[in-house]
Subunit: 347 residues, 2 copies
């Protein structure tokens, strides 16, 4: 049961040297003076005994774990896997491991995980979840614990953060719909408890105002989560109203997909009778029926930049800019129709 672990001491004994010598051989930097003979002997016996260093003991001693923690709101949201991959790529290439935590959109779970990550002494934390109580972040800040906000804004201006230009993306989306001739544009907004949800809704409203379109509050519906199901429920409230919209902007792709389902139920074909735009350009967006017009977010790059920023911070490298804002551009696909087509519906 309790296989006696092969330690550095066992190797030392077997090789006829002192444990510290083994340590030096195994992870000493080049400058170290070591007799090639002993080095060979140690290396040989180490592999013969199947020695595995204990990351635990090393971390305890070094006070570094070479591990990053990451808080993700919901791994089911296809936006995140590519981001995670970007983080992992970078972390890996710089010698760090990643501990991923799915907060399930629950703030208790966020706090719990945050505690766990700190107890495990990860060297830094990536926070992609949005419901994070500000107090938790304030605590990190106060303790000078390295962290970076991913795809979400933060109150404090000098927090490390990598975000996407919501304003830019939303504006392009609304402009596109208006250019197509839409006037009654429905808004399926994200939870207003999140920065992202707030920003995208505000941007959409202001873009419409700029076009001189007055906002019909019956056409704005706030979803309780960034999920397809929540989008469906929110969209129903808009689509089954007295005067339904001819287009819908979903604050992310899942919400848009939920709206699509609701539209079908309402007997509206997309894009013939309803134009639809999402946000994120999640993987496989072009395979939906119809292919989703959406705002592209450079997900992998977002992960890469976040991890780089965090690691620089951890290793005390100079950081050029604390806050990266990534461009977001519209990608037009089949889910938005020319105005003439949509107009048919009234006919």
């Amino acid at each position: 049961m309790t296989e006696p672990r092969v330690t550095i001491i066992d190797v030392a004994r077997a090789a006829g040297v002192h444990p510290s010598t083994v340590s030096r051989v195994l992870n000493g930097r080049g400058e170290l003076a070591l007799l090639p003979a002993t080095r060979q002997r140690v290396l040989a016996t180490a592999s013969r005994l199947g020695y595995r260093p204990s990351a635990l003991a090393r971390s305890l001693r070094l006070r570094r774990t070479f591990t990053l923690g990451m808080l993700v709101p919901n791994i089911d949201n296809p936006l995140f896997p590519p981001i995670i991959k970007g983080v992992e790529d970078t972390a890996h290439s710089r010698g760090y491991n990643l501990v991923l935590c799915n907060t399930e959109d629950s703030s208790e779970r966020e706090d719990a995980y945050l505690r766990v990550l700190r107890e495990r002494q990860v060297d830094g934390i990536l926070i992609a979840s949005s419901f994070m109580a500000d107090s938790s972040i304030a605590e990190l800040r106060r303790d000078r614990f390295p962290f970076v906000l991913v795809n979400r804004g933060g109150r404090a201006a000098d927090d490390l953060a990598v975000v996407v230009d919501n304003q830019m993306g939303v504006t392009e989306a609304i402009d596109h719909l208006v250019a197509l001739g839409h006037v009654r544009v429905g808004l399926v907004a994200g939870p207003q408890t999140t920065m992202t949800g707030q920003q995208r809704l505000a941007a959409a409203k202001s873009a419409m105002r700029r076009h001189g379109i007055r906002l019909d509050t019956a056409l704005v519906s706030v979803a309780e989560a960034f999920s397809q199901e929540a989008g469906y429920r929110a969209a129903r409230r808009i689509l089954f109203g007295v005067q339904p919209p001819t287009a819908i902007f979903g604050a992310n792709d899942l919400l848009a997909l939920g709206a699509l389902r609701a539209a079908r139920e309402a007997g509206l074909e997309c894009p013939e009778q309803l134009s639809l735009v999402g946000f994120n350009d999640m993987p496989l967006a072009e395979f939906f029926g119809p292919p989703l017009t959406t705002v592209h977010v450079p997900q992998h790059e977002m992960g890469v930049r976040s991890a780089s920023l965090l690691i620089s911070q951890i290793e005390g490298e100079p950081v050029e800019t604390k806050r990266a804002v990534l461009d977001a551009h519209l990608v037009v696909r089949g889910s938005t129709a020319a105005p003439a087509l949509v107009a048919q519906r009234s006919a």
Copy 2:
């Protein structure tokens, strides 16, 4: 910079007790006899000083990390997030954390991560990746290191494993297509370096044989990965042949999606001119254009069962059955057509 960590010793000193007493107060089981007064005092000072236990030191001492490692081939594959969630749910509820590793379908990376996980002394490992060299697994087995195979077969019969009944699922898929009147059924197989790829191809072939359909090798194409892109390339080889199929079975949903793209390029509309069936019933499968007919795999349950099995093993609980085989049933949606419709194509 180097914020001096608050240790159990600091708390002890401040509370006027011995460190071991602090330890007892903090994680002693109920049976322990402790003066309520001291307990209060310790608790108070601990929280006053903002004490955080060091999971590192505890693990070193306890020789337990309460951490599980998980190897996933590619987090971009939508099959996995729900499985991961299942694992996480279970792990969390039983007091374990999860370290997720994305192997990127690379066997070097698999080995590297496996090494890291063992160095970090995770208490057990979930292996959902498929390219794992058998030698690595043999090593785990030899060292009696707790592990469970998820959604992939293993050579040794007594390995812990949770798999899906590929035979059942594939048979239902092929039966469905044949019942629809299809005779020329194309097979976009998964990599034959994986158990899953092998099993599903074999099952498909045997199901067709059972129906008395002779296998046209020009209709079988092996993809080099379980990805949409690989499926696309593999399907092209089938679709642009002399006599293309009237239906395609993809060994998983991403392959099927790739086939769909290739079909479009070949000028074949789905399902009118080509029926399509996938495998896994990945999230959002019903939103594709057309909605994907596919074999449902209980992904969340797979994660839950895997984690339970592993944790039971770790904690020495009796395990009823080492190998769980989950049912896989076809879910018919819009991507398969009645024979009459498909027949039109020849006309």
